[in-house]
Amino acid sequence: MSATRTAGERREVSSPTTPSRRSKSRASRGRPGRRGLWYTPWLYLLAPVALLVLFTYVPVVSMVSYSFTSWNGLSPTKRYVGLDNYVDLFTRPQLFQVFAVSLFYLVGAALQIVVALYFATILSFSTRFRNLFKGILFFPYLINGVAIGFVFLYFFQPGGTLDTILQPFGVAPHAWLGDPDLVNTSLAGVSVWRFMGLNMVLFLGAIQSIPPQLYEAAALDGASRWQQFRHIIAPGIKPILSLSAILAVSGALAVFEIPFIMTGGSNNSETFVIQTIKLAFNFNKVGLASAAAVVLLAIVLLVTMIQRWLVPDERVEMS
């Protein structure tokens, strides 16, 4: 883990200024009770680690074990069914449907990254009302998801805001959420609306941490804006870009809130997580739902590992 290494390096760097703080304070002052008690750090970690295990590791482990049973979530006994749930999962046509739905969100997320990159770049150069534009574009990220759901239910209503706006352009009214061919595009659009600003602010932060002398030097050498973007900005934001890409993939697979609030998963808009939640809590198929969750978790972890492997040690965590 790069993080532990970073911590180690820091310690080595700092140790000359505070010469071997532990050994000295313990040995020279001869009071092991002050710091030497081996369990002192554990007293601080007791609650955090207990919560971590209770709410992350216990669920992951029990989820895997449920996935091999036909448990309904209520009965005291769980019947072992081997890989039946996984076979069931991969042979039901709904599975491909939900993966197809997540493709819409994936395309949306890719678009979102491109748009965010564009606005982050132009806002990083001097622009009138820059903070106002930045604020407006970022604000949707802070809005309550249920409120966003209602805002866009109203926006997409037949004869609603969108139809009204498009009318002068000769676009006939559409059933934006009622048409199974349109609904996922509409919902993915809401997702872009909601999250673009976050990506933009992250990119903007990364761009602004690039030393300005680099642009000056490039400008002196006659580099165009595109060349400045290509050779200065792009490499500077590579870590955050790769982090955004991975969040886009796992986000596209784990979409839940917006479609659940807006359509409840009807009309062809059911996502993987909505399906899992319905299996577990509406149809009491906890075993099958667990298998679905395990598959999703495995995909997300796999994607993360591929990203770490492709873009190693980018100081995106704990540094």
Partner: protein, 286 residues
């Protein structure tokens, strides 16, 4: 690029680029604002006005017609929702600050066996999307006997927040170890150092965590929806969600409800802009 371009050409191209830049910024701002504007305008109109003119962007007859807000606030039980959300916010934020700062203090200021293991446990946990494990987390919450109480979300918000731990860990590294040493020489124990030295110096990190986490909890829908289904325990999100039934097609009331929920966020955003940008940048990059 191609070297010799006439000066006027460059200026012209530059002007066009600047023009396009502002056009794109205005267009994007319109895309953000118009859906929200429709909600605000509708929330100020009466049922009769809506029936007479279906255009969602029509201006209200009376710009100060707050009747819909009154209906949304009382019949939507928003006061109760505010109380429940505040209760959850208060305890989860205190808990998160202590959990995060204690973890950071233990990991960064102590050397002990198993430290690597603990860090790896936190690192891996950050990769597990919470939404995937709810099927099993539900059973854990059930076993703990807190199902259907406000303590379920409080415990979950405290226990599954790795980002705050990262923020504290990042920040505690900038506090010189010499300060701990000085306190120790003055006879301070480990707890005194945490309480009197580290925690006060972590104030900026605490502010960041409170803002980032506070916004997340205020907006969270999933956890209260799943763990507190009772009407009396509605939070801001779940109470607003319940507008769907009774107010069915009454968009003027639903709009007012949505606006009621968004306004506090807007106020907080305007007041704390700088903290919010920095906080989310710190939070998202871990």
């Amino acid at each position: 690029m191609t070297a010799p371009i006439a000066l006027t050409g460059v200026r012209l191209r530059g002007d066009v680029a600047v023009f396009l830049k502002y056009v794109s910024l205005l267009a994007a701002s319109a895309v953000v604002v118009v859906p929200l504007l429709a909600i605000v305008l509708t929330s100020l109109r009466t049922e009769g006005e809506l029936a007479g003119d279906a255009n969602p962007l029509s201006a209200p007859a009376n710009w100060f017609n707050l009747h819909n807000y009154q209906v949304a606030f009382t019949e939507g039980h928003m006061l109760r929702a505010l109380w429940n959300t505040s209760f959850i916010l208060f305890f989860s934020l205190i808990g998160t600050v202590f959990i995060g700062s204690m973890t950071a203090y233990a990991i960064d200021r102590h050397r002990f066996r198993g430290k690597k293991l603990v860090m790896t446990l936190f690192l891996i946990a950050a990769l597990v999307p919470g939404v995937t494990t709810q099927v099993a987390t539900y059973q854990v919450v059930n076993e703990l006997g807190v199902m259907g109480t406000r303590w379920a979300p409080i415990l979950l918000y405290m226990g599954t927040d790795i980002v705050s731990i990262y923020i504290f860990l990042q920040f505690i590294r900038s506090i010189p170890v010499a300060l701990d040493e000085a306190a120790r020489i003055d006879g301070a124990g480990s707890l005194t150092i945490y309480w009197r030295v580290i925690l006060p110096l972590l104030r900026p990190a605490i502010a960041t965590v409170v803002i980032v986490k506070g916004v997340a909890i205020y907006n969270d829908f999933y956890i209260p929806f799943l763990y507190m289904p009772a009407d009396g325990l509605g939070t801001i999100s779940t109470s607003l969600f319940r507008f769907k039934g009774p107010f069915g097609a009454h968009w003027e009331v639903i709009s007012a409800g949505a606006a009621l929920v968004i306004v506090p966020t807007l106020v907080v955003f305007l007041a704390l802009q700088r903290f919010i940008y920095n906080g989310f940048a710190a939070g998202a990059t871990k």
